[in-house]
Subunit: 429 residues, 2 copies
Amino acid sequence: MRTRPLKVALLGCGVVGSEVARIMTTHADDLTARIGAPVELAGVAVRRPDRVRVGIDPALITTDATALVKRGDIDVVVEVIGGIEPARTLITTAFEHGASVVSANKALLAQDGAALHKAAEDHGEDLYYEAAVAGAIPLIRPLRESLAGDKVNRVLGIVNGTTNFILDKMDSSGAGYQEALDEATALGYAEADPTADVEGFDAAAKAAILAGIAFHTRVRLDDVYREGMTEVTAADFASARQMGCTIKLLAICERAADGESVTARVHPAMIPLSHPLASVREAYNAVFVESEAAGRLMFYGPGAGGAPTASAVLGDLVAVCRNKLNGSNGPGESAYTRLPVSPMGEVVTRYHISLDVADKPGVLAQVATVFAEHGVSIDTVRQSGKDGEASLVVVTHRASDASLTGTVEALRKLDTVRGVASIMRVEGE
Amino acid sequence: MRTRPLKVALLGCGVVGSEVARIMTTHADDLTARIGAPVELAGVAVRRPDRVRVGIDPALITTDATALVKRGDIDVVVEVIGGIEPARTLITTAFEHGASVVSANKALLAQDGAALHKAAEDHGEDLYYEAAVAGAIPLIRPLRESLAGDKVNRVLGIVNGTTNFILDKMDSSGAGYQEALDEATALGYAEADPTADVEGFDAAAKAAILAGIAFHTRVRLDDVYREGMTEVTAADFASARQMGCTIKLLAICERAADGESVTARVHPAMIPLSHPLASVREAYNAVFVESEAAGRLMFYGPGAGGAPTASAVLGDLVAVCRNKLNGSNGPGESAYTRLPVSPMGEVVTRYHISLDVADKPGVLAQVATVFAEHGVSIDTVRQSGKDGEASLVVVTHRASDASLTGTVEALRKLDTVRGVASIMRVEGE
């Protein structure tokens, strides 16, 4: 066994970084045995050097992250700062100075994954980022290694714990969105500014990463259709229950039926209670992967939090250190299929539409005609009325999003349709 | 990209082998792109050369597996024969002749994993076997790579599809064991001789492999406590339901509370309906992994079948081929903790015991005294009686298996205890 330790620079020492440092210290012997050489924390770059950091030698703390990654003796840089800059420049600098990188940075990878992979390859370094998607759940490695001999057709998952916590609360307690969000904030599941979570930006970044790996093509954040879950109401949950469904914020990556393109999207959707994703509670994450040979696989676990994310970071750290010792590299970017990403209009799925309509004869016939004219086939209709007002709930068969959009636009123009109360996709069947 | 193809020898061309060959042919371009070089089926060793094998060049077929692995130009041997011999000798011979090995052979790995890993290492070759446990479900790779920086404390899973199918039938239809087995056989879920499945041998082999990887120690098949599920009755399911439980055949690998030893066992057990494993239906497999930092992870999917198992084999094939091209090796055996495997008597869990007792005053006091004398604390007791006979159902708090065994022996000696109708462990809480 080699005795010169592998040197690790840690960029960021917040919730995740401090756990990484802690485990590197407390489990040093295990890491040494598993890597085949000792691994040493050589420096920790932070923004606030005065903060007390239990268990970390103060001599390792620096505010100069750039100098740390440029030191020249660093073997692996662990980047848990998040955000685009300075993370991007630091990672690139690390490659230039002979370090491989383990990152948990979903936003950066979803935006600049291709360029970062190229920089890693140009310098013969590794770029690993299991922690960027679904925290501790092994997902990147299974997709890019275990299923490397298979053909993935679909990835369907709950990849944001904050929104799953909120939706689960709404479902189980009948609470409205704001009330559930307040509870999530009070319990630390939602940040003070929850926009990235509730508007689906976080999930969309993960969808971009997953789609790229699953389909061996490039998918950027901008390619991902995104709808947040702030407009999901208690009434939507009631409608979902009537259909034997619940509502989840899903990230869905699909290969088109003809195999010539892919789609990636994030939006709230109804899924049957019998679907395994329906029973994913609280802030847990779970991802379904459907592939040609393996069939349906599901991966479930804590999608966030310091220790779970640190577990994923450290798994990558062991792999990258082993590669360093072997003088080899792990799998780089695999984008050889060059499949284009189709716009949302080409996505084909089912829809649940609630309409407020006039309570008089002939309304259903009018509405049904509009659906037919747009080529959207109706599966079921439920009509209920009181006091001259009525509501009409239509569930469609599979149709393209463009057809559905056209249908809804036409419905809004009907005199007898007072309003479109909600439109929600139905998935997981 | 290198143009000389990597040569693969396929040993066995049954349900799994024929799928491996099919996918290697139909997805050749994908495999080439993912590996970085073409991969070529160089020979297929079979027992019955006359059988028609669609899509496989007859010139590749041979009955001489030994000559095939000795050819000297083979880069990777895929062993899907199963059983101990000739598989063991063929794998060892493959290493000696410069080939890495991908195997789906759980029985062999559970018995001789250490020696095979050593042979691979001695010759600088890889030994991969994702397909040996839980078919298509990525489990070996996540455990030995993704969680390489974490500390696994428990693996709890349904790793045999046949028995899960039978138990699921018994649960959902109220059928007895034999009736459910007959249905499983008719549908092809059980083999003509179901012994390996229903007596737990198959699951025990998988438990040995999982425990060894999870705890970085050596666990052999003989170390695994094993109880089959042939004696589970409809009455047991009724009892389970009264407790809000169902019954599953579980493989359970645990680190002792003091961290100084491990246990591995396979037996039927009651688990709460709220536990995610309770809802694993039909022939699906699912494995829970509890680790220090990552928390609770679950992996779910088809645990057997030609295509799913082939998916796992091909994922390994891609990894092994990439290592060959890199001149590197994947992770070998990791058994550095040398943790001993404790006997079943030291396992600590909860128990559900059904006793047939005389219906007269004082019986409960007698029974409770026996439990107390053996240090087994009672959680709940349910008494029901008719016609001078009564039954007593006792659910204990956590106790060692040795204490429970002592308790049951003493109970059998009581005049008032007519018989011990069933003893079942309660897990997953």
